[in-house]
Amino acid sequence: MGIEHGWRSQFTATEPGISLGIYRITFGLLMCFSLGRFMYKGWIESCYLETKFHFTYQYFHWVKPLESPVLMYGLVIVAMVSALFIALGIAYRFWIFTFFLLFTYLELIEKSWYLNHYYFVAIIAFLLCWMPADRRLSMSQLFKKTIPKHVPKLFSNILKLQISLVYFFAGLAKLNGDWLFQGMPLNIWLKAKVDIAWIGNYLAYDEMAYLFSYAGVLYDLSIPFLLWNRRSRPFALVAVVVFHCMTALLFNIGMFPWIMIVGSLIFVTDKEWQHLFSRLKEKASPQYLPAPQQGVPHWLKALFVIHFAIQLILPNRHLLYSENQLWTERHYRFAWNVMLIEKTGHAIFKVKDHPSGKTWVVYPSTHLSTIQEKQMSFQADMIWQYAQFLKSEYQASGLIDFSVYVEDWVAFNGRPSQLYLPLDLDLLDTSEDSIYDFVTPLKQ
């Protein structure tokens, strides 16, 4: 069974793969439900089909939705089916690749719908593509008479590390002035929830915002370590469930709590699962005989190293700048900045034709959906992108020499609204990267 002790054993040992199998099942079922919910709520229309213009990600501007609603629905249904087959463990490798590609494609279409947990799902799907997560508890194994091989422990550790990084960077991101010294944005969000039964009574207090803020930081920074540790793991698992159920109750964050609760199951070791099974079934636990060890190919190890190098770089890119990242939102996405800001914006664009001196006023709601407009109004790169869209629209109507300006007022974490970008800034003279340099400094 390759039992080795110590730190090195986490990378070299093998295990039956029960933990990996359970993670695969729960992840697949949750994704199947999540995509069904997405469809049921009518979000295929509002995210992909209702608007002509889409905010795409830098370097992925070529990703476009399919024009046919039937095909878009079809893709989501195929992704759902993939998730179900992942859970069942039938043709696992094929379906996990299919799921990863489809899910990532769906997420890349519209930046205004970016959510940290969608990004997290894409990452987990990517990692699962390279793991034999169907060795145990899968339909395909039912038809095989041979004893399944053990899987390198490295795989479950990779998933644990990924989840730990999410928590850790989410915790680090909370170490900012607004969170620690103003109790923001929880102060706003909790006061809005005084109608909740039982606990609603206490949410109107400023002290509660601080309590939740500090508890959040403490939880995020400590939970990975508590989950890794064998002794503290049972308590940590209870804490995970309590914490995420609480967030589900208080905030409108969709699948995020459930994804994280399910994610924590990977920390339960195969030994612990076997112990649990044996207690449940009174010694009728599955017997996993020793089997030949299986190494991880060097190219795969290299892939994981590259992956984690990227995972370390992305949340730290903002350190290169002295600005308040929560305000400018430069490199804000893909960095586990979870629930840190309450922002609202109000943007109106102006197109000025230089030869004639004529000016057109453009209200973003003319072209954008409610969510697109809302998200764009306080994110500089999206403002730039919408200006590019206006450029193409007005060029098509015959204008040649013109500028695009924006009057954008943004309120952030309870502060009064302030101008986000200079009124005289020609957005067409900026780039997707440089636009952040023009964001006006935050008035404290």
């Binding site: 719908w113 005084v194 009574n201 009064p416």
Partner: protein, 356 residues
């Protein structure tokens, strides 16, 4: 044992303390919604229904006696009805909104060409036929088109020479009166649901009210003023883009709507000494500064409006004044959409998506 008792006592006292404080905030939310419904929406919709009924009666009298005096009375009452409806527009949320009844009462602009075409046909006009017509051919905007000719001297002549036009006026006014009654009923039935909707979700009363206040300001900037200021055509002012431009009631309509907006914000409806509104709620939440900033912005809108006399003329002769009014509305819109909604935790969206 004593220590345990002490701890227990502290716990009980703190629980009671928490409950009282929270109840204040919760009760204040309830106060605001009840005030708005009982002293704002319900009496207003009642008044609107009565005005529509009177309007219909006056139109019937005019049909009996197609004189200039009677027409003047009808035109005057149309303005009264219109102004009342401009106030009702602030309350287009919840069950009222999902009934789409506001569209049936007033959809601006009317489709003038199709309306004139339908008046040229020979099919018999019936109440049922009129009620089945599209909303762009009915309601206040269509009635304005019938009652106020571009050349005022022609208005009476058109009715005298074209009985079908007169018949359509009678039937569509009756239809308006019926719809006003339905709207009143919907609000009366919806009122308890609204005042009990103390939750912070999108369906919450405060949430719906805030979104309605925002929608009013944005619509004013964009359609009621922006289009006329030439924002969508490169700056060419166009008075025909003003709502109710034929009747010359554009400014009165704007004023009526904004008066109601202020009542909705301040809660100072007629007949209620409590006057509980958003200003009080903000104060209770510890943000008097924001309430004051909004009051200043309201005053700026009032001042900019007071600068105007006849919107149609001001638009052409003193465009800057109209632009200033739009600017004042913009400022108030930013404060409402960003600062107010952000601070009280309102979701400014019609789409309940996830977030993290």
């Amino acid at each position: 044992m004593n220590l345990r008792r002490c701890l227990l006592l502290i716990c009980v006292l703190s629980l009671l303390g928490c409950e009282m404080s929270e109840q204040q905030l919760f009760e204040q939310r309830s106060l605001q919604l009840k005030n708005l419904s009982d002293f704002g929406a319900v009496p207003l919709h009642d008044a609107f229904q009565k005005a529509c009924k009177q309007f219909s009666e006056q139109v019937n009298a005019f049909a009996e006696d197609t004189s200039q005096d009677k027409l003047n009375e009808v035109q005057q009452q149309w303005k009264v009805v219109g102004q009342l409806f401009k106030r009702c527009e602030l309350y287009d949320f919840g069950e009222v909104n999902s009934s789409f009844i506001h569209f049936r009462i007033h959809r601006w602009p009317t489709n003038e060409r199709r309306l004139e075409d339908s008046l040229q046909t020979t099919t018999t006009l019936t109440a049922e036929g009129v009620s089945n017509m599209g909303s762009a051919l009915l309601g206040l905007a269509a009635l304005e088109h019938l009652l106020f000719e571009k050349d005022p001297t022609q208005s009476l002549l058109q009715f005298q020479e074209n009985p079908r036009r007169l018949q359509f006026l009678v039937l569509s006014t009756e239809y308006l009166s019926i719809k006003a009654g339905e709207l009143n009923e919907i609000w009366k039935n919806y009122s308890p649901t609204f005042t009990d909707a103390l939750q912070s979700a999108i369906s919450g009363g405060q949430n719906q009210l805030t979104n309605s206040l925002i929608a009013y300001l944005e619509e004013t900037m964009k359609s009621r003023l922006g289009k006329a200021l030439g924002e969508s055509n490169g700056g060419l002012v166009d008075k025909t883009e003003l709502e109710a431009h034929r009747s010359g009631a554009s400014l009165d309509f704007l004023k009526s709507g904004f008066e109601e907006w202020k009542h909705c914000f301040n809660g100072d409806f007629e007949g209620n000494s409590d006057a509980y509104g958003f200003d009080d709620y903000l104060k209770a939440m510890g943000n008097q500064a924001l309430a004051d900033r909004i009051q200043i912005a309201i005053q700026e809108c009032d001042q900019a409006m007071a600068e105007l006399s006849v919107l149609q003329q001001d638009l052409e002769n003193d465009t800057e004044k109209v632009a200033n009014l739009k600017k004042a509305f913009h400022k108030l819109s930013v404060l409402t959409k960003n600062d107010l909604a952000g601070f009280i935790g309102v979701t400014v969206t019609a789409n309940d998506s996830d977030g993290d």
